[in-house]
């Protein structure tokens, strides 16, 4: 057997690679992304999730290789070359297995979610850096510990380090140090990734890499531990302000607009709906204006506080016409619950909660939706029939009475002490 082949086949990376790639592809098929829309950033973020399984596998292999190095006595003899450079022949196959699995998981997620294999380029650096750092760290562990302990310690330790932070709810930002739960933090179609969510795990990985380099060059455990501690502290500083999510508003220049009165702007992922949404919006706003409601000039998927000229709405790629009508009707209502009901004191009871479905049903009915469509939206539970009957009754009143009834229920959406008005009689 040629030396090159002997080198390759003697590495645990050779048999770990297919297992890790298979695990990554399997896990990427579990519908992990924040949104079903083909939003490239959301699916790139979801591509990190398989790392919680593939990195421990690669780390176990790297610890194995490190223990082989130790077993051969290489750690006990003096050498002039850099420790990490000397380790490359043993480390390269298993590190390549970890990187390959990471990229395969990301590509599989992208293929499932967007139809292309290529992720957002900003996600590539941590996708490569994380498996590299963990495998180098596990190799360093293997050179310090008996292989019988190093392999399980790398497997279980990497898994615990990547998984346990994402199960912690307080502080919730701890999860951003691992990147493996980014699919739960990023991103809605209207949002982009917060750079800190990518920088924090990358910084931790760099610290791990630097600590491993120190260990492989015969430096003590204390400098290495300090290096890891400093990197984790730096990552924590970055992640501290993130909370559960890791997203920022998306660049509005990407919006695709259609129609004139009103203008309807959607994200490129919903461009297939732009024409029909524009037609529906024109029909609904015309009817609402005839009923005396002030209507905006623009409906946009950009998340922004409503103004008289522009209201925000949200679609999904699979929205049907009834779903689009519901989205426009919801855009006409203020965000709920009102601040008084969201108070942590729990003293405030929002007495006007029923006003929301009531107004939604009225807006849809007035805007041209059928009674069956509204009944389907409201469902049979929670007094849906009563809400529909009240909305139907209100829609049959003279325009002036409808406006008074609408205004009264609108007040109930912004205050806690005003009950919903089912009866539209003056």
């Amino acid at each position: 057997m040629r030396p090159g082949w002997r080198w390759a086949w003697s590495s645990s990376g050779v048999w770990i690679a297919p297992v890790a790639v298979a695990v990554a592809i399997w896990y990427a098929g579990q519908s992990l992304a924040y949104t079903a829309d083909p939003w490239i950033v959301a699916h790139s973020a979801a591509g990190f999730a398989p790392l919680m399984l593939t990195i421990p596998l690669a780390a176990a292999g790297a610890a194995w290789e490190g223990s082989r190095w130790r077993h051969a006595g290489w750690t006990a003899i003096p050498w002039s070359r850099d420790g990490l450079a000397s380790a490359v022949p043993l480390l390269a196959p298993v590190t390549a297995a970890g990187v390959l699995a990471s990229l395969a998981g990301m590509a599989a997620e992208m293929r499932t979610g967007t139809g292309t294999f290529l992720p957002d380029v900003r996600f590539l650096a941590p996708a490569v850096l994380l498996p590299v750092a963990w495998t180098v760290a596990a190799f360093a562990l293997g050179t310090s510990l008996n292989g019988l302990w190093a392999v399980p310690a790398a497997l279980g330790g990497a898994y615990a380090a990547l998984v346990l932070p994402i199960t912690v709810t307080n502080p919730v930002w701890l999860r951003h140090l691992t990147a493996t739960r980014m699919n739960g933090a990023c991103c809605e179609t209207s949002a982009d990734v917060d750079w800190r969510a990518l920088a924090a795990p990358s910084l931790v990985a760099l610290g791990l890499l630097a600590a491993s380099w120190l260990r492989l060059n015969h430096h003590g455990a204390i400098p290495a531990a300090l290096m890891v501690g400093a990197a984790v502290a730096g990552g924590a500083l970055l992640a501290h302000g993130l909370g559960r999510g890791a997203q920022v508003p998306r660049d509005p220049s990407a919006l695709v607009c259609a129609g004139a009165a009103p203008v309807v702007c959607v994200w490129p992922e919903h461009a297939n709906l732009a024409a029909s949404a524009s037609g529906i919006a024109a029909g609904m706003t015309g009817k609402w204006a005839a009923a005396g409601l002030p209507v905006p000039d623009r409906f946009t998927e950009r998340l922004a506080p409503a103004s008289p000229a522009s209201h925000s709405f949200a679609l999904s790629r699979r929205s049907s016409d009834p779903g689009i009508r519901q989205a426009f009707a919801m855009a006409m209502l203020p965000p709920v619950p009102p601040p008084c009901a969201a108070s942590p004191s729990r003293d405030a009871v929002w007495r006007g909660a029923d006003a929301y479905p009531l107004l939604l049903a009225w807006l849809m009915r007035t805007g041209g939706s059928s009674a069956a469509e509204i009944a389907g939206m409201l469902g049979g539970e929670g007094g849906g029939g009563r809400v529909l009957a009240a909305a139907e009754q209100a829609a049959s009143r003279p325009a002036a009475e409808q406006r008074v009834w609408f205004a009264r229920n609108l007040t109930a959406l912004s205050r806690c002490d005003v009950p919903a008005a089912f009866d539209s009689a003056p």
Binding site: M52, A60, S67, G147, L148, W149, P152
Partner: protein, 192 residues
């Protein structure tokens, strides 16, 4: 006999066992929320995987050159030792559970036997390093896919099953018998 026992690192294994059992007993009914497990997994069920690793390390002494040239049938001795270790772990977990009032202790004792058996099977078939990783890999793998989407534990997911599940006990008993068999019959690989 003394040399044989010393080569099997029994005192160190006993120390690790006591530490793990104490940790499992102290963990009470606390659980760990693993992202893939769909529901939380009792920490006391997962900790015995460390015993599989420790037992693998302790019994790796049978892969020494001294054993390979021994005139006695060391495989049978090791199988007997393995049976004693498994019985002691199960009994100690049961006692610790009684003392600490930990309702999961019986299941943890069952899992200790199972993880030790997995380690022994893997080490005799694939070598000692894989033997050490096997209990952790089984724990992670079954933790990941051992529950259905509705949270019900799958019939084969013995580390997650309740202490009263007869199928889990049957699987662990089968694993233990298989481990004793391979310990007696298959010669150990060279220890690293």
């Amino acid at each position: 006999m003394t040399l044989w026992l010393r080569s099997r690192r029994i005192p160190a294994l006993a120390a690790v066992s006591l530490a793990v059992i104490a940790a499992a007993a102290l963990s009470g009914a606390r659980s760990v929320a693993l992202p893939l497990a769909r529901l939380e997994v009792e920490a006391a069920y997962l900790l015995p995987a460390i015993l599989g690793v420790a037992a693998n390390w302790a019994l790796a002494g049978s892969g020494s050159l001294l054993d390979l040239v021994a005139s006695r049938r060391m495989g049978w001795w090791d199988a007997g030792l393995l049976a004693a270790v498994m019985a002691c772990e199960a009994a100690l977990f049961a006692l610790a559970g009684l003392a600490a009032g930990n309702p999961w202790a019986t299941g943890a004792g069952r899992n200790a036997v199972g993880f030790i058996a997995v380690a022994m099977l893997a080490s005799r078939v694939a070598g000692w390093r894989l033997g050490g990783g096997a209990p952790i890999a089984v724990m992670i793998g079954i933790g990941a896919i051992g529950r259905r989407e509705d949270g019900v534990v799958r019939w084969w997911a013995w580390p997650l099953a309740s202490p009263a599940d007869p199928v889990a006990w049957a699987i662990v008993a089968t694993l233990a018998l298989a481990a004793l068999g391979v310990a007696a019959v298959i010669p150990p690989k060279r220890a690293p």
